[in-house]
């Protein structure tokens, strides 16, 4: 806000000039009556009309420049705040959205930004209001001391009385708005559930429900408008009586020759004028309070801690040798803002350039405290002390024994409840989790949405959390089963993560998304956002899968990519997927037998531990496994 001080001051001066000009109009009318009409002086008439014209000219231009200055500033401040909120939300380290629903975040970026930006206008108006009151006061006091004091001292209590009347009204109208919003919400909700209503034949019941809701809203509205009527009536009454008092005092003063007739006219006009700026004070102070609350909400988002530590956030595993031996140093906290490449603490090169061998060791899917997949886990710790002893054998991380820094792991069962997993180029690897929470926890770590805790996840021998999250994600793409499609054409969506020159067709064919394109009116160019809701779950899922395949990441992790797809298409996808990813690293986290049949090794996780490992066909002999995948 401080950056805009100059603009606000300039706006204030211009608005003040405008207000002063407005205040001069009734005054000049009085002068014309006195000097020209009553005196019968045509020269005075011409002269004072010229002054009136000048006044109009000044007030008009002052308003024009003031308004443009202030409202333009508001518009740009609004856009800037919105960009800042969006920028925080889009930070690769995440965390800006924690604990807030998308609608709420949108509200902060739109409504709250707007309210704060409105200060660009509210403050100059406030300045002008003060100026207007001052000018009016001086003029009135100059006309007649007692009359001026009467008006100046009488108006605030008058407004105070009005405020007293407004308070209960505001409450009432709040309740009314809530009811009306509820009725509107009911209608929107029923309409968006129309297919469901149709399916159960509940349209008549829905119509009755809406009518009830609408009638309740009407009742509340009518009660509120009765209050509003009372309020308006009181305002009229108070203003009218005050005017009568002014007329009485002023009229007597004029009759006694203390003031002229023209001054009486001016005083009455100024008294009417004064109400405007004084009412505005109430309005601006309400705006200021709102803006303060909005600014606090925006600040909360902007200052939200990241969900996952980038290496520079305190832990920078270093000394990664060619054999990929892991971490040997825990850097002191806050090694630097943009730590990438500094102190030799970060690995060189592009993780996406390697062969794409992903290795997971001793990853605990269930946190000893605080539940699994704790997203508030900030520090990505690499702590070999708890690596599982029964490492299935590449011996990559021996000898780096180091005690843990906070002893947190000691509350868990050591060495027994972690998951080991290897994903290598070749046929897809699969993981079946009996408990979906386990799958979610693993996926969060692989996606760098949360830290590996006591476990260790390496890509081509380098800990995944040695890279900034966005770099790691370029090498390991985790495609969620409920992945979001974004506004744009089907092709735009498929190509969202792909190199620009890539051909979307192979990925679309593998994901059976080519069929989706065929059924849409404009094929590849169909706007997915406009029809987003009318795409079926299966169609959306296939487009999202095609997008994940087209991104061509060295390591692709797919979570339940075919849950909403029919069996015929699913088998086609399973084959297409395996062929498309042949020779690359792919992890399928799924319970679909059609997909599992395409996998080389399947790891079966029960209660956060590896229960069995083998091919799908072998594991089908396991009752628990069979129950999970053929449910």
């Amino acid at each position: 806000m401080l950056a805009y001080r100059g603009r606000i001051a300039a706006g204030g001066v211009l608005f003040s000039t405008h207000q002063a000009g407005e205040a001069l109009v009734p005054l000049l009318v009085g002068v014309v009556i006195d000097r020209a009409v009553a005196a019968g002086d045509p020269v005075a008439l011409a002269g004072w009309l010229a002054v009136l014209a000048l006044d109009f000219l000044v007030l008009s231009y002052a308003y024009r420049f003031g308004a443009r200055q202030s409202w333009y500033a508001e518009a740009w401040a609004d856009a800037r705040l919105r960009r800042q909120v969006a920028g925080r939300l889009l930070d690769p380290r995440g965390g800006g959205e924690t604990g807030r629903l998308p609608g709420e975040l949108t509200g902060i970026a739109v409504s709250d930004a707007k309210r704060v930006a409105e200060l660009q206008v509210a403050l100059p108006i406030l300045i002008a209001g003060v100026a207007a009151v001052a000018v009016t006061a001086v003029t009135l006091l100059a006309i007649d001391l007692s009359l001026g004091l009467l008006i100046l001292l009488g108006t605030p209590p008058l407004l105070w009385v009005v405020q007293l009347v407004v308070k209960p009204l505001e409450k009432r109208s709040g309740a009314e708005q809530e009811r009306a919003a509820q009725a509107a919400g009911t209608a929107a909700d029923l309409v968006s559930g129309l297919r469901v209503l149709n399916g159960i034949g509940a349209r008549p019941a829905a119509v009755r429900r809406y009518r009830d809701s609408s009638r309740q809203a009407l009742g509340a509205t009518l009660r509120a408008t009765r209050a509003e009527g009372g309020f308006l009536g009181t305002v009229q009454l108070a203003n009218g009586l005050f005017l009568a008092v002014i007329a009485l005092v002023g009229g007597r003063a004029a009759a006694n020759g203390d003031i002229t007739v023209g001054q009486l006219v001016s005083a009455v006009g100024l008294a009417q004028f004064l109400i405007g700026p004084l009412q505005m004070f109430g309005f601006v102070s309400a705006r200021l309070a709102q803006a303060r609350a909005s600014a606090a909400r925006i600040a909360a988002v902007l200052s939200a801690p990241p969900a996952v530590g980038a290496p520079e956030d305190g832990v920078a595993p270093g000394g990664v040798g060619p054999d990929g031996v892991g971490p040997d140093g825990v850097a002191p906290g806050g090694a630097g803002r943009d730590g990438a490449g500094r102190d030799g603490a970060l690995p060189d090169g592009d993780p996406a350039a390697g062969p794409g061998e992903l290795s997971v060791r001793g990853l605990r899917l269930r946190r000893p405290a605080g539940g699994s997949g704790d997203r508030s886990e900030r520090r990505s710790r690499v702590d070999p002390a708890t690596l599982e002893a029964g490492d299935p054998g590449d011996g990559r991380h021996d000898g780096d024994d180091r005690s843990s820094n906070d002893g947190r792991h000691s509350t868990g069962r050591l060495g027994s409840d972690g998951v080991d997993l290897d994903v290598r180029p070749g046929a897809p690897t699969a993981l079946v989790a009996a408990d979906p929470e386990d799958a979610a926890a693993l996926l969060a770590v692989l996606a760098r949405e949360s830290g590996p805790g006591d476990g260790r996840v390496t890509l081509d021998g380098v800990p995944l959390d040695a890279w900034p999250p966005e770099v790691a994600r370029g090498a390991v793409l985790v495609a969620a089963h409920d992945a979001h499609l974004f506004p744009g054409s089907l092709r735009d969506n498929v190509m969202a993560g792909a190199p620009e020159t890539a051909d979307p067709e192979p990925a679309m064919a593998a994901a059976a998304a080519d069929q989706v394109a065929q059924t849409l009116p404009d094929g590849h160019d169909t706007d997915v956002s406009a029809r987003g809701r009318s795409l079926s779950g299966g169609q959306r899922q296939r487009i999202a899968l095609a997008r994940a395949l087209a991104a061509d990441a060295p390591v692709l992790v797919l979570h339940d990519p075919t849950t909403a797809v029919d069996a015929v298409t699913e088998t086609r996808i399973a084959e297409g997927l395996a062929a498309h990813r042949a020779g690359r690293s792919t992890l399928l986290v799924t319970t679909s037998p059609a997909l599992l049949g395409q996998a080389g090794t399947v790891t079966f996780v029960v209660d956060g531990r590896v229960h069995a490992r083998g091919t799908h066909a072998e594991l089908m002999a396991d009752d628990t496994y069979r129950a999970v995948v053929t449910a």
Binding site: I33, A38, G40, L49, L59, Y63, R64, A67, R68, A75, L89, T106, A187, L194, R195, L197, G199, G201, R203, A205, V207, S214, L218, L222, T225, E228, G240, L241, L243, A244, G251, A255, V268, G269, E449, L477, A480, F486, P487, Q515, T519, P521, S529, A530, R531, G537, G538, D560, T563, A564, V565, D566, A567, T569, T590, A594, G597, M620, T630, A631
Partner: protein
């Protein structure tokens, strides 16, 4: 499946008048009273200026200080009457307008909820939604604020002009010198503002949607590293919104400049007229003062009229869209509705297309015996969902017949169809409000015990009782968010409450993902118990568990029979089964019934 977008109708001016006239007919009396009170209120307020003029005159005539008392008492009296009339006028106007508005929105929602599904789909999902949200609120706001303000201000302007004429007709002429500028300004302004506001609304909506899409898909944005693209997109949207806001301010300041000019011309003319009339002895100084005060007091109402016309113009566009839907006729019901006896399903010679020349279903025959469970299997686009929708009476059949029990589906009224057949699809929707309210959509007169029993039956009793306020917990949008599995169990509990003879499940367990599929399968089993069932299967285990499997391909039935027979037959279904179970290298296919 999709055809090109055909938006829902937009009403013409005469239709709007007709519909509003019809809705307001019962309230005409109160409308008349409201108008009388408003006019009286405005008329009384016009007495203020002449009374002030009278005070000026008495002072000018040197009648002494006490002479001002009488007109001052008049002013006080006016204040009282004015207050009373204002209170009454606001309440009466609001009563009429709000009642009319409620009638309109209820009729709109009634018609909207009775639109055929195909009609809504061809209009695009957004059309109806934006009418029910944006347009309803635009029209409501206008009725609440713009209309009464506009009425009051317009009345004020009209009566002030009358009062000027009463003082002296020449004052009126002088004041009217300003009006050509005002009319010209208003026209130019209103012509330019509407497109600008529309652009502003669209840009604001696009910005909102972009932010919402980004916020809802943040994890996808991160996974695919789309930060920069989204940041740029949002910045572009924000810049467009700002650009339009600037354009609107420009327009408004231009408007004010011209109105200021008109104000000056009118005021100067009135003052010159006063000078001239006083000079020629045709009027008093007091009257001239009153005329000038009248005119100064016109500034605000004229601004209000212009701005509220502007707002009303925006609302009118919304009103056209509301009335367009409210003016539709409800679909006809059969004159003598049949009653359903029996629970079999018989489909004969069903052919259906969405687009001429592209049949989705061709000559389909299908039977479901009472209590039988039939699974529909086929690829996307094979016509499974269309067939399910037609059997459930949600889509009208192109040609051919559908019978439930011994009644043709077309011969049933809404209630008969509700009792005959229910469709549950993968699209789950939790209706906003108390959980009990959601369930009572299925059976409005159900007791709490019946609701709980239905929830228990589908395995949802546990979580439902564990909700903070039990059945009264507010769920859905803005309330307690139910996970997908719970939402779908809720849908199945509604089925239990509706208690239809036939239940059609269209991949009803698909959206749950693998995680909740098992729990949902059990819930679906419970909902199907005792009914004839047609199940569109996405997991073949569902097909294996059915009494009979019907395989659809390109809109035709290509295979039909019990699962084991079809597997043994070694044809299409058998190959599909083998591929789907992922059994390779001679491994025996798992038996789903073990």
């Amino acid at each position: 499946m999709s055809t090109h977008t055909v938006l829902l109708p937009v009403a013409s001016g005469p239709r709007i008048r007709a519909v509003l006239g019809e809705l307001s007919r019962p309230h005409r009396g109160s409308a008349a009273v409201a108008v009388v009170v408003l006019v009286a209120g405005a008329a009384v307020s016009l007495l203020v200026a002449p009374l002030l003029g009278e005070i000026v005159d008495r002072v000018a005539r040197r009648q002494g200080a006490d002479a001002v008392l009488l007109p001052v008492l008049g002013l006080a009296g006016i204040a009282v009457v004015q207050g009373l009339l204002a209170a009454l006028g606001v309440a009466l106007t609001a009563r009429f307008c709000e009642t009319l508005l409620a009638g309109l929105r209820e009729r709109f929602v009634d018609r909207a909820l009775h639109l055929p599904q195909a009609r809504i789909e061809s209009a695009g999902a957004g059309d109806l939604t934006s009418r029910v949200t944006d347009d309803v609120s635009a029209v409501s706001d206008s009725v609440r604020e713009a209309v009464p303000e506009l009425a009051r201000a317009a009345l004020m302007v009209a009566l002030t002009l009358v009062a000027l004429a009463v003082l002296d007709w020449r004052f009126l002429l002088a004041a009217l010198l300003a009006s050509p500028i005002q009319v010209w300004t208003a026209r130019a302004f209103l012509g330019r503002s509407e497109p600008l506001y529309t652009a502003q609304r669209i840009a604001g909506g696009a910005q909102q949607q972009h932010l919402l899409d980004t916020a809802a898909g943040l994890s996808t944005v991160r996974a695919l590293r789309l930060h920069d693209r989204h940041a740029t997109g949002i910045a572009e949207r924000a810049a467009e919104v700002a650009r339009l806001a600037v354009a609107v301010v420009r327009l408004h300041t231009q408007l004010f400049a011209r109105l200021n000019l008109a104000e000056f011309i009118g005021l100067a003319a009135v003052l010159v007229t006063g000078f001239w009339l006083v000079g020629s002895g045709a009027t008093t100084i007091g009257t001239a003062s009153a005329a000038a005060l009248y005119f100064v007091n016109l500034f605000t109402p004229i601004n209000v009229v212009l701005f509220q016309l502007d707002a009303a113009q925006t609302a009118l566009a919304g009103l056209r869209r509301l009335v367009g839907v409210a003016d539709l006729r409800r679909p006809p019901e059969p004159d003598e509705p049949a009653t359903v006896r029996g629970a079999r399903v018989r489909v004969r010679g069903l052919t259906h297309h969405y687009v001429e020349g592209h049949p989705v279903l061709t000559d389909v025959d299908l039977d479901v015996a009472p209590g039988e469970r039939v699974a529909l299997v086929g690829a996307s686009g094979a016509g499974k969902s269309t067939l399910a929708g037609i059997v459930a009476g949600v889509h009208a059949a192109g040609s051919g017949t559908v019978e439930i029990g011994d009644a043709r589906l077309d011969d049933l009224d809404a209630d008969g169809r509700r009792r005959a057949v229910t469709l549950v699809t993968q699209e789950s929707h939790v209706f906003a409000g108390p959980l009990a309210g959601d369930l009572r959509l299925a059976r409005p007169d159900a007791s709490d015990d019946e609701l709980l029993a239905a929830l228990d039956r589908v395995g949802a009793g546990g979580w439902a009782r564990a909700l903070p306020d039990g059945l009264e917990t507010v769920v859905g949008d803005g309330g307690h968010r139910l996970p997908v599995v719970a939402a779908q169990q809720l849908a199945l509990a509604r089925v239990v409450l509706t208690d239809p003879r036939v239940l059609v499940l269209d991949e009803a367990t698909a959206e749950a993902g693998s995680a909740g599929a098992r729990a949902l399968e059990e819930s679906a089993e419970a909902a199907l118990a005792g009914r004839s069932g047609l199940v569109v299967a996405h997991r073949l285990t569902q097909a294996a568990a059915a009494d009979r499997v019907v395989v659809l391909d390109a809109g035709r039935v290509v295979e039909e029979g019990p699962h084991d027979d079809l597997v043994a037959a070694g044809d299409r279904y058998a190959r599909l089964w083998e591929a789907w179970t992922g059994a390779r290298g001679g491994e025996p296919a798992p038996s789903p019934r073990s």
